[in-house]
């Protein structure tokens, strides 16, 4: 088996995110993000030689969740609290890692670990302002 492509990893993470109800999910940053949404932001680091013969690459890849501030402020923050929680039906971490270990994204990688969540704040773009947060995921892509 070859190392999974980044496109495959994006698709696998998006499939995991889509297990959260009432959350629109994307493998790439959407042009006009609907709220609430989560998307795979892309690799922030990639190491190619974690074992001999290209046996293992480790990607650190970001996942974002955005919640509209058009809703009352407390409600938006409350929604975001649920997404960044470690457990619960709306937990991004729980959705990505799933209930099985290792999480292989349908057999395409060796494992996925959601290491941390950062940047819980308001993001302003041309299309509006959103509560959001960034998740850092480590993907063990093995042959």
């Amino acid at each position: 088996m070859a190392i999974a492509s980044i496109a495959t990893i994006r698709a696998g993470l998006n499939t995991r995110l889509a297990t959260i109800s009432n959350l629109q999910t994307f493998a790439y940053l959407p042009a006009q993000p609907p709220m609430p949404c989560a998307f795979v932001g892309g690799p922030t680091s990639l190491t190619y030689h974690d074992s001999m013969a290209q046996g293992l690459n480790i990607l650190t890849i970001s996942v974002w969740v955005l919640v509209s501030t058009a809703t009352p402020t407390i409600e938006g923050q409350s929604d975001l609290d649920e997404f960044v929680s470690s457990t619960g039906t709306n937990s991004i971490r729980a959705a990505i890692e799933g209930s099985t270990s290792p999480q292989t994204l349908s057999g395409t990688v060796a494992d996925v670990v959601v290491d941390q969540c950062n940047g819980y704040t308001i993001y302003t773009t041309e299309s509006g302002s959103y509560f959001g947060a960034e998740f850092s995921c480590r993907v063990f892509a093995a042959t």
């Binding site: 030689h49 974690d50 074992s51 001999m52 013969a53 290209q54 046996g55 293992l56 670990v113 290491d115 480590r138 063990f140 093995a142 042959t143």
Partner: protein, 137 residues
């Protein structure tokens, strides 16, 4: 001058290619130091004594059949199986020599790591008999 960077070292143990699991490998060909200094000498003289070779490997763990754990555990406490290490996966040649040893695993720790980290196991292989043999063809 060509400097060798290890990215594609080959390790085959008991006919199982475990190369893709290897993150670190050290092949040591060592001899005991025998002092052969005679009377009247003005400096110590040394001669190589018995060979005492070893191969130390750090693996990414895999508990699937015929992978890392199964292959190593099968040799635990035995008389050893053939291990062949090469600088690259290419055929053996003068510039890609093989180092072959009848290897017995010692100090095997099948589970070793911190939470959220890859399970990496370091194993020291010692010769069940003989020494490491270098070949170029």
């Amino acid at each position: 001058m060509a400097i060798h960077v290890l990215t594609n070292a080959s390790l085959v143990y008991n006919s199982v290619d475990l190369s893709v699991y290897v993150t670190q490998i050290t092949v040591t060909m060592s001899s005991e130091d025998v002092d052969i200094t005679g009377m009247g000498a003005t400096a110590r003289a040394h001669a190589p004594g018995l060979r005492d070779d070893r191969i130390e490997v750090t693996f990414l763990q895999d508990f699937a059949a015929a992978k890392v754990d199964a292959t190593i555990y099968a040799q635990q406490g035995g008389s050893g199986a053939t291990m062949v290490v090469k600088p690259t996966s290419s055929a053996v040649s003068a510039t890609n020599p093989s180092y072959t040893m009848t290897a017995v695993p010692f100090d095997y720790t099948p589970i070793d790591g911190a939470v959220g980290e890859a399970d990496t196991v370091t194993v020291t292989f010692l010769p069940g008999s003989g020494a490491i043999v270098r070949a170029t063809s």
